[in-house]
């Protein structure tokens, strides 16, 4: 009995299907009411029987083609289409709910949990999903609209990511000054789940009341679509509009932490929420020691001129002892390893590393700067033009004198741990496919032969596995 599933799925509202061939629209009648012939008006009975002569006369008239009535579609407002395109639908009431354990912070670094599905904390219990949404951790390409609620697969790479957080929490390998910084890059083939691992890291970090700063798509920084201006002292290019947006997201996602809620009054982290020294904001403004960090950020969000300084103040505070741990995440690292689309006044392309935000992130990634306690996590992307220098650096290849590689890329990721995100193992794939099956994605009942086929065709790649499962073979 699969029909209830099939009847349900196509009725999902406002969903853009990533696979066109995946689902057919089923309706209860085979004929569309729109394409049916209109009913004849009752007022004029057929006259052919009564007066055949008249009929003939009528038919000899020149036939005038009726103009089709154009139904004017309501015009899109400015930005509406972009909003629709970027809209994230996280739940689908037509899908079958699957009972799964919640992805709690207890699972950080738990090896035994690997190979099982977990649900993200539900909205009633927590606001984690909303906070993740504020950080733009969910992406349109990740098939969320097909399921009742967001769930993720706990993989062996998830364990590795969890280890990073765990080491920071346990203060393993802390230096003399008590600073712990973990830096890692998630790297793998297309569709292997790097962005999803970032999401899992953010989930845990938010649950543990870390301060999470996330750049969801580094491409936005380099394609020349936001304001930029040169900052005289550092010779870096600031992107104030983007920084304002970033602060906005940080503020929304970390409300609780920034208020100091959830920390005991004796906790130093609570004290950190008050600023420990005065900072200049913009040309004129200044924040005094003892001001709330939250207030500073709220001020900066309203005025782009203050944004960059406020962002620096936040990072500065996070590097002081007693501050809460921080997670600094960036997706699509490849995008900031190539020249940006921005131009300097002499019309030379600005190197991405000369943009202030990427520069700052890479400083944290390469260990030039650091939090007091923090994890810096980047994910590579496969939707980017050739980044030979980055590929070479990720593979740890030595310098080849015949290769003209960008010399700035290698040092920018130096010392970061590279987590190779592999294909799914059979156990992981089985867990995932069971979840798909229970959610009503699969048309036919799943047996081991089907699993073997899908696993072989997708070669264990999560994105392709979903594609293979969703496809209905004719």
């Amino acid at each position: 009995m699969v029909s209830p599933i099939l009847w349900r799925c196509p009725q999902m509202p406002h969903i853009i299907y990533p696979f066109k061939s995946g689902l057919r629209i089923h309706s209860f009648t085979t004929t569309s009411p729109l394409s049916a012939k209109p009913l004849k008006p009752k007022g004029s009975p057929p006259s052919s029987k009564m007066n055949p002569g008249k009929q003939r006369m009528q038919s000899s008239k020149v036939h005038v083609k009726k103009k089709p009535i154009m139904v004017q579609k309501p015009a899109y407002e400015v930005g509406q289409r972009k909003e629709l395109r970027k809209r994230i639908v996280l739940s689908n009431t037509n899908a079958i709910p699957v009972v799964l354990p919640t992805m709690t912070a207890d699972l950080i670094g738990n090896e035994d949990a690997a190979g099982a599905m977990f649900a993200l904390p539900s909205r009633e219990a927590d606001t984690i999903v909303d906070r993740l949404r504020a950080l733009e951790a969910f992406q349109t390409k990740q098939h969320w609209p097909f399921f009742y609620r967001p769930c993720t697969l706990f993989r062996k790479e998830t364990v590795e990511v969890g280890r990073l957080l765990e080491r920071v929490m346990r203060r393993e390998g802390a230096g003399e000054d008590g600073r712990v910084n973990e830096r890692a890059i998630l790297h793998g083939y297309y569709g292997c789940g790097r962005s999803m691992l970032l999401l899992q890291a953010m989930t845990w970090a938010l649950q543990k009341e870390w301060v999470v700063i996330a750049i969801p798509n580094a491409q936005d920084l380099v394609i020349g679509h936001t304001e930029y201006e040169l900052e005289g002292n550092s010779h870096l290019w600031l992107q104030k509009a983007y920084t304002t947006d970033l602060l906005n997201r940080v503020l929304e996602a970390n409300q609780k932490t920034l208020k100091g809620v959830g920390f005991p009054s004796s906790c130093p982290a609570r004290a950190m929420m008050k600023i420990s020294q005065s900072y200049r904001l913009g040309r004129t403004d200044e924040v005094q020691k003892g001001d709330l960090m939250k207030t500073v950020l709220e001020t900066a969000v309203l005025d782009p001129l203050l944004a960059w300084d406020a962002f620096n103040a936040l990072l500065g505070e996070l590097s002081l002892p007693g501050s809460p741990p921080a997670l600094f995440a960036l997706d699509n690292l490849n995008q900031i390893s190539i020249p940006s689309k921005y131009r300097d006044p002499a019309f030379n392309a600005i190197h991405s590393h000369d943009l202030a935000l990427p520069n700052t992130f890479l400083a944290y990634l390469s260990g030039k700067r650091g939090f007091h306690k923090g994890v810096t996590l980047a994910a590579t992307s496969s939707k980017c033009s050739r980044t030979l220098a980055l590929d070479a650096a990720l593979e740890g290849r030595g310098v080849d004198p015949y290769e003209r590689l960008d010399p700035r890329i290698g040092p920018s990721i130096e010392g970061a741990q590279i987590i190779h995100v592999d294909s799914l193992s059979k156990e992981e794939a089985k867990a995932l496919m069971d979840y798909y099956n229970e959610s009503g994605i699969m048309k036919d009942p799943v047996d081991i032969a089907t699993f073997n086929e899908k696993y072989a065709v997708s070669a264990g790649n999560p994105r392709d596995l979903f594609g293979a499962c969703l496809r209905i073979r004719q």
Binding site: S423, N452, E453, Y455, A456, D464, G467
Partner: protein, 306 residues
């Protein structure tokens, strides 16, 4: 057996009277015993000579019909020898059509006489299409269950069979080698794939790379593994393929063919399943060459009046 006699007689006629230069006509007049080897002129003379030359003798009985009719019903086809032969075979087939048959793959392997040899029998230029027509009938007759094949058919088929020459036997039986590998080659477009298939747990390496790195399109991966998927043996074999030439699609489909062939070495019984899935048939199409005066192989530039 009467039937045997009939066919062989007819065959004998077609197969032996090949050196006849003129068509052979026969009338329904009472006549002398007919000697098949002696050519007969195309004339109505015999009857009239009798009338003209022997006035003194009493007139013979009036013949019921004086028109001469051809001996062979195919006389007017242009190549009566061929058509006589074909009709004989068709008759034979028709009489045995109802007999149970076996699958073509299981039928006893025979090599029919080549077209040149067949031409020697018929004594005339036979078009390839006509030769093929005969071969098709012979193939069909050969598929009659050997256990109950009539002697007449056996004798008829023997006429068209080449003597067996073991040295000329083209097909070499391939087997799994000492390491448990089955080796096969497949070609498609300009790609050539060499595949080693071993029993294993379902890994696939193409040119030393995991299959996902070599074929990033899922459709191509499906093509490569298709023989294993349709036979439900994805997790039973490991594939090691070396592909060169061509593009992604060609390479993937060359692998399909090679894997299917290698799989047949491991398990010959899968032949039918693989054929049903279209994995065994060689697609020999190649890109058509570009011609001078054309923009592509067939496309012509737009015609301009002047």
């Amino acid at each position: 057996m009467a039937a045997t006699g009939t066919f062989l007689q007819r065959c004998h006629r077609t197969l032996t009277e090949t050196y006849r230069l003129t068509p052979q006509l026969t009338s329904h007049l009472p006549r002398k015993p007919f000697h098949p080897h002696r050519p007969r002129p195309l004339t109505t003379a015999p009857a009239s000579t009798t009338l003209m030359t022997s006035f003194s003798q009493p007139l013979p009985e009036v013949a019921p019909r004086t028109r001469l009719t051809p001996l062979s019903p195919s006389y007017y086809t242009g190549s009566p020898e061929y058509y006589d032969n074909l009709l004989a075979l068709q008759d034979l087939l028709r009489s045995h059509e109802a007999l149970p048959t076996i699958h073509g793959d299981e039928a006893p392997e025979v090599q029919w006489k080549t077209m040149d040899e067949y031409r020697l029998i018929i004594g005339d230029r036979v078009k390839p299409s006509r030769y093929n027509k005969v071969i098709r009938i012979l193939d069909r007759l050969n598929r009659i269950d050997p256990a109950i094949m009539p002697a007449e058919t056996k004798a008829a088929l023997a006429l068209y069979t080449r003597p067996e020459n073991p040295e000329l036997k083209r097909r070499v039986e391939r087997t799994v080698d000492n390491f448990g590998r089955a080796y096969a080659i497949g070609r498609r477009k300009t790609a050539i794939a060499r595949v080693f298939l071993v029993e294993g747990e379902g890994q696939a390496l193409v040119n030393g790379l995991p299959i996902i790195k070599k074929f990033s399109r899922m459709h191509d991966r499906e093509s490569v593994l298709w023989p294993l998927i349709v036979t439900n043996r994805v997790d039973k074999y490991n594939v090691f393929a070396v592909v060169k030439g061509g593009g992604k699609t060609g390479q993937a489909e060359a692998c399909t063919l090679a894997i299917a062939r290698a799989l047949r070495i491991h398990e010959p019984a899968l032949k039918h399943a693989l054929r049903e899935a279209g994995c065994v048939t060689v697609d020999h199409r190649q890109v058509e060459r570009k011609k001078p005066g054309h923009l592509k192989a067939r496309k012509m530039p737009t015609w301009v009046k002047r």
